[in-house]
């Protein structure tokens, strides 16, 4: 149930970034989404964020 509810949020987020004027942000967003998943798995982004940052 909780996972299903979170999928709705992910879907809304994708829909937001998929809008035409934001399409250029999509790659950036996908990487950030992966960071979000990592966050969920590692229970904190503090250790992950610096690595994500170096990508840019």
């Amino acid at each position: 149930m909780r996972l299903f509810s979170r999928l709705r949020t992910v879907r809304q987020l994708l829909a937001h970034f998929a809008a035409r004027e934001r399409a250029m942000l999509l790659p950036l967003f996908v990487i950030l989404l992966l960071a979000g998943v990592l966050l969920a798995l590692t229970t904190g982004l503090a250790k992950v964020a610096p690595f994500v940052y170096t990508i840019f």
Binding site: R8, Q12, H16, L28, F29, G36, L39, L45
Partner: protein, 566 residues
């Protein structure tokens, strides 16, 4: 039955508001329950308390509306952080942690807290929440609406036109050119905490001379149409979220003031900051007036509604009547008000109704107060006419903690959770500063006056703003009866007390007038240093025990350390 829950939070001023069948049932700020000032969390306590008060179960709720778009906010944070590369490096990890760890999942967290299916949780836009909170509660049928704050999703300022049930966006100013962030940056520069110290900067400005105009003009350009453009170099691209300004501003104006140092405005060092505050306040007023003139030009309306954090600048608000005949500022103009705006927006245009009282919170429990006070060894007496008793105490120069009915929506004590004192002796002000409020000596106290008499003491007392203490008025003439409540520039943030806005306080003022010929008293918030306004009986008794206040009145109970004194 239609039930809509509005929620704001995850930045500052978390709040919940319930609108039932188009009427406001309850609106509470999370800080009142968590006891964390400007609580930035999700308002889980406020949500639960609202539902309990209104006897609403999760199954009764038709929709839950969050006050802003978390996805658009994520986008803005992401883009602005990448834009500011490499300066924003330090900010990046904390911003992304907040966005991806909590804020992006706000709607899920709310659904779980309320106990409703996620499909029933939606969101609206930050500035629309503000605009609705102001327009729908103004009682106007045709009004320009300005929403001015730090930043919402992307907009920092927005202009709307409200006509009957229709509220249309006409123009907006986008991040980073934000009047709210401009004011906040100078708040930090003068040593105050951002999102809390802006009122201090406003109070300080009256002590200064706007002699830094040439310098500060380099940081901001104000267009004739109310648009503003910040020179971001001085604000370091807003990369430092604690300060909002950078080394270039210090190079321009001199070093910033260290936070927490005692103020001595007799010395040149502190007068410099008063002069900076005066200049920033003057520019802010100029910008708001330009926005108002543009709003008038584009809408043709004679009334203006205002919300957003900048709308708490009572000194600037007072000037808006130069442009509009009627001005209304929502009492919870900051982000808390967004919760109510979100709920009213979902309820639709039929939910428009003039807000007459800010007493929208939880009622005080007098039985709990009595029981708790007795347990703590305090003396408790039920009185037949509490208004006459409080009036008598004030006439004798006493300070009374006054708790009546439901607590206030918004940051001002408006006669439900108030600390009352005589308005006359200037030493009362110094004594309250020293022993109770423990705050900067330049901060003014506000008067509460009988609505029907306020116009005899002050100029330009306008009902919509004076009702909720959202503007300042100038004293008609130097009056020793008002020595404790008039600021150094001869103004006061007057509360005109109406029978339908604060009936208990109105009775106190009526009794003072009839028995003692007094028309105004000092009214300040009932809270300890660094704490939010008291809400419950326990909060009020804890305040009373910790401060040298003569009496505590909770509904019809007189609570004292020694009844013999009263």
């Amino acid at each position: 039955m239609s039930v809509i829950l509005g929620v704001s939070g995850l930045y500052h001023d978390a709040a919940a508001a319930l609108v039932v069948d188009g009427a406001i049932a309850i609106a509470i700020q999370e800080e009142r329950l968590s006891r964390v000032k400007n609580d930035p969390s999700l308002p889980l306590r406020a949500i639960q308390a609202s539902m309990e008060y209104a006897k609403i179960t999760p199954a009764d709720i038709d929709s839950v509306v969050f006050y802003e778009d978390p996805f658009a906010k994520l986008e803005r944070t992401l883009v602005s952080t990448v834009r500011s590369f490499p300066r924003g490096r330090r900010h990046f990890s904390s911003a992304m942690e907040a966005q991806l760890g909590r804020k992006m999942w706000a709607l899920d967290a709310i659904a779980e807290a309320v106990g409703v299916d996620r499909s029933r949780v939606t969101f609206t836009q930050h500035h629309r929440s503000h605009a609705v909170s102001a327009y729908y509660t103004s009682g106007y049928d045709d009004a320009a609406v300005l929403t001015v704050d730090g930043v919402g999703e992307e907009a920092c300022t927005a202009l709307w036109h409200g006509e009957a049930a229709d509220l249309r966006l006409l123009a907006e100013q986008r991040y980073p050119h934000s009047l709210g962030m401009f004011y906040a940056a100078f708040t930090a520069y003068c040593g105050f905490r951002v999102n809390e110290g802006e009122q201090k900067l406003m109070g300080l400005s009256a002590y200064g001379v706007p002699r830094y105009r040439d310098e500060i003009d380099r940081t901001i350009t104000i267009g004739a149409d109310g648009s503003i453009e910040l020179c971001l170099d001085y604000f370091d691209g807003f990369n430092d979220v604690e300060l909002g300004f950078g080394p270039k501003l210090e190079a321009l104006l001199g070093p910033r003031r260290a936070p927490g140092q005692p103020w001595t405005l007799e010395e040149a060092a502190d007068r410099r900051f008063a002069d900076v505050a005066a200049t920033v306040q003057a520019l802010t007023e100029e910008a708001i007036l330009a926005m108002a003139r543009e709003a008038k030009r584009r809408t043709g309306a004679t009334a203006l509604c205002l919300a957003g954090g900048v709308a708490l600048n009572a000194v600037a608000n007072a000037r808006l009547t130069e442009v509009f005949e009627r001005v209304y500022v929502h009492p919870a103009a900051g982000d808390a008000g967004g919760a109510l705006g979100a709920a009213l927006d979902a309820a639709g245009g039929s939910a428009r109704s003039k807000l007459r009282s800010a007493a929208l919170g939880l009622p005080v429990d007098a039985a709990e107060a009595s029981s708790l006070a007795r347990t703590l060894g305090l003396e408790v007496r039920r009185v037949a006419d509490p208004a006459a008793l409080v009036a008598e105490q004030l006439a004798r120069g006493r300070v009374v903690a006054f708790v009546a009915g439901r607590d206030e929506w918004g940051p001002r004590a408006l006669g439900q959770r108030s600390l009352l004192a005589p308005a006359g002796p200037a030493e009362v002000r110094a004594e309250l500063h020293r022993t109770v409020k423990e705050r900067e000596p330049f901060r003014p106290f506000a008067p509460a006056a009988l609505a029907e008499r306020a116009g005899e003491l002050f100029d330009e007392v306008h009902e919509p703003t004076a009702r909720f203490m959202t503007s300042v008025c100038r004293l008609k003439a130097v009056d020793p009866r008002l020595g404790a409540v008039v600021h150094v520039d001869g103004t006061a943030r007057v509360q005109a007390v109406y029978e339908d806005s604060a009936p208990d306080l109105h009775r106190v003022l009526r009794s003072l007038h009839d028995s003692h010929g007094v028309d105004a008293i000092l009214n300040t918030s009932l809270n300890a240093v660094g704490e939010p306004l008291c809400s419950t009986a326990m909060d009020a008794i804890a305040f009373y025990l910790a401060h040298p206040v003569d009496a505590l009145v909770v509904e019809d109970l007189l609570i004292t350390r020694d009844l013999g004194r009263t």
